[in-house]
Homo-oligomer: 310 residues x 2
């Protein structure tokens, strides 16, 4: 069996502007069918997923109702089950050994510079006036409209380890597919109490799900990392007339392109970094492609395919 | 190691009328401390919990915001992570092998008579006018006020098996404490498609968490079931001047009392039935008591203690 981490973009499960639950359910079934096919081809599966639209909905709901608002770490956990349950159920329907969702925490460094400068937008859009009245940090975001729009911004620290990776490994060994690291995992800091004891504490931040997928994959000695998104490749000069897909590349080549300013922050850049780190960390190969191009990519005929430097 | 299922009442985690998240967090820490102490005394732990107040909050939030409302099965899953994440984190802080939350589905019979007559109230209170406009079944509930109050009512079918019990067993065997079956588990029916394939389908219902705790415990060959609630014992003639605590009892005695009309439906009755079925199903002992009385109960000096018929 090839141990494989499949990272599903949040927008592959609920596209922006696509509000219907029927659409979400259809995408979940499609994702499960894809994972089942990977499984049929001899893979042990860890499935990770984004949660941007889902956590946005929970934040919006909390603002609208007069009940205690849960902190962001708890909301991230909720989205792990909100998406994990239907994913595991649909996987149960497709193979005998079944699947299970593990609520997953990721350690982040309390001194991560991300905590000094929250940049990741989450939740609903606000007017300038609304934003000014909020009890959290907001920033102006680009919407294409004339009217300025604001969103809450939170830190997006780099994950250093996955708290439950030993349990994920146990489950994989017994033949179960595992849904883990949803939404990038619930960020926790590992700190020492005044009494000298170690403890985990949840923090209001979000972790990039591709970075978490890489950390989890490396900890599990996975062979493959498949990053599924809405484009078939990572591109150089993306969005220009000169854009060129990256096909077969090495981590060193990717890092050189990244240093030269390619790959948008918070979008393609974390995917590229995750793939480079995964292969440098011992993985056989990593890929960035869309679900539609996955099968050709696995055959070396599509997608951005990252293999070790010689 | 003694394999033990600990069933925490939803109201031991967030008491009715107690809205603050600080209070909920304090109760979660207390529950984790109790579980850690059980673990220190040589037990393998499966922790189940209720979710009544929490699922109520999610339903209220969904009504208040203009985003797609998730069905009840998904909300139950969300509460499993909402409570499971802080429970597992606090358990991680208290012992080395850690804890993990497993999103859990329970099979129910599609022909369960509960589906014909929804009786379990969930979510917010409505006026008669509001209730009449809702797209779901409501029923008048007793509040003590003059004004009639209504709530949504859903079926509460009996669980027949836990979909993830093999995975819970694997995790226990590797030394991990497992949070599972939260809110009684996500109810699913196991049906055959037109194409003759088996599939699980989520249903809008809620399952009693004590019944699920029993089914899970029996499937795991657990030795103990500890049902923790807000009273120290099950009582005969409860709430009358003649109320008498049940101390050492057998399943047959409990069933005789139940047949005679003791134990309130939806409250003490499922706890009593769960304990009787657990012991009849091979368990060494089951108990109903409060967290404060647990240690005395384990020493045979408090609580309702159920052991096999001779």
């Amino acid at each position: 069996m090839t141990r494989t981490v499949v990272a599903l973009g949040g927008n592959t499960l609920l596209r922006r502007g696509e509000q219907s639950l029927d659409a979400e359910r259809r995408r979940i079934r499609e994702a499960a069918a894809l994972v089942a096919r990977l499984r049929d081809r001899g893979r042990e599966i860890v499935l990770t997923h984004g949660n941007g639209p889902q956590v946005g909905h929970l934040l919006l709901q909390q603002e609208a109702a007069d009940v205690p608002a849960q902190p962001l770490d708890v909301l991230v956990a909720e989205t792990q089950a909100q998406l994990g349950y239907p994913l595991q159920r649909e996987l149960d329907n497709r193979f005998d050994d079944g699947a299970v969702t593990v609520v997953t925490q990721v350690r982040v460094d309390p001194d991560d510079p991300a905590f000094d400068e929250p940049t990741k937008p989450v939740g609903p859009f606000y007017t300038a006036e609304e934003a000014a009245s909020k009890p959290f940090e907001t920033a102006r975001v680009s919407t294409g409209d004339d009217e300025p729009a604001y969103r809450r911004v939170v830190p997006s620290p780099t994950p250093t380890s996955v708290v439950e990776s030993a349990q994920v490994r146990d489950l994989l060994s017994s033949g179960t597919a595992v849904v883990a690291g949803g939404g990038g995992g619930v960020p926790v800091v590992d700190e020492e109490t005044d009494a000298g004891e170690r403890r985990l504490r949840g923090v209001e931040a979000v972790v990039d799900k591709d970075r978490t997928s890489q950390v989890l994959g490396t900890e599990l000695d996975a062979a493959e990392l498949l990053v599924l998104t809405d484009v078939s490749h990572a591109y150089l000069d993306y969005g220009t007339d000169d854009q060129r897909p990256l096909t077969a590349v090495t981590p060193a080549e990717l890092r050189r392109h990244a240093d030269a300013g390619e790959f948008a922050a918070g979008s393609m850049r974390p995917k590229v970094e995750a793939c480079a780190d995964f292969v440098d960390g011992g993985g056989d190969r990593a890929m960035i492609t869309s679900p539609d191009h996955l099968w050709a990519a696995l055959d070396g005929e599509a997608g951005t395919r990252v293999t070790p430097d010689d």
